[in-house]
């Protein structure tokens, strides 16, 4: 469906704020890698910005980010809760 939508170029009609909310929901998932991998296979992430393409190195880094977030939540649970999606967004 996503691919069809992309082919028919209707994605440009989607409000950027709606995109943001959808991406944030994906980045908030416990396992971010799978949905992001799937999304980047189906829809080029260039709809965010044309420079953005996720490579294998990015996914490796994403895994490291996930591990670091788990480490933070485990070791520093008394500190402020951090916005995990914001950390992952920084990959872009």
């Amino acid at each position: 469906m996503m691919k069809q939508a992309l082919d028919s170029e209707v994605l440009v009609l989607v409000n950027p704020h709606r995109w943001r909310d959808e991406i944030i929901l994906i980045l908030k998932e416990q396992d971010t890698i799978k949905p992001l991998k799937r999304l980047s296979l189906v829809v080029p992430l260039s709809f965010i910005d044309k420079k953005i393409k996720l490579s294998l190195a990015d996914f490796k880094l994403l895994k490291q980010v996930r591990n670091s977030l788990n480490f933070y939540n485990h070791k520093f649970f008394r500190h402020r809760k951090i916005d995990a999606w914001l950390v992952i967004w920084q990959l872009f």
Partner: protein, 146 residues
Amino acid sequence: MAVILNKLSAAEVSQLAHKFGFKKGESIRLVSIKENQRVIRELSGKAKPSRIYNLLNQLSYETIIFYYACSQDKKVRKNIIYFMDKLSHLRLKIKGEDLKKAGLLPQNLYGKVLTELLEAKMDENIDGKDQELKLAAEIIDKLKRC
């Protein structure tokens, strides 16, 4: 870090954040990672605790965790953990009010004195209100001479 450097610049991230309607705070945190990459370089060398504090205290935890994740350098990671564990919640036992009570003048130096005192507390082994007051008096003397 090369992966990140090759992508969007700080200005592009800022534009993107605007386009997608991010909140101001979110936008600032997103841009800060691009603008503070020198922090990683500095943390990989030998740095005093007060330097580590000054480098990291200005950054959001999101940025710090991202730097932690990106860096494979043991020294950088160790410094980040040291900051989170020990330095981030280190506070002075005295306040401006205590300096005033002790009759230390001039009052317009209190902000600077307390900042220097906190840095000294990180780098040297200073503990207790009395030691802090004694050192505060020394710092005021030094600042008055400058």
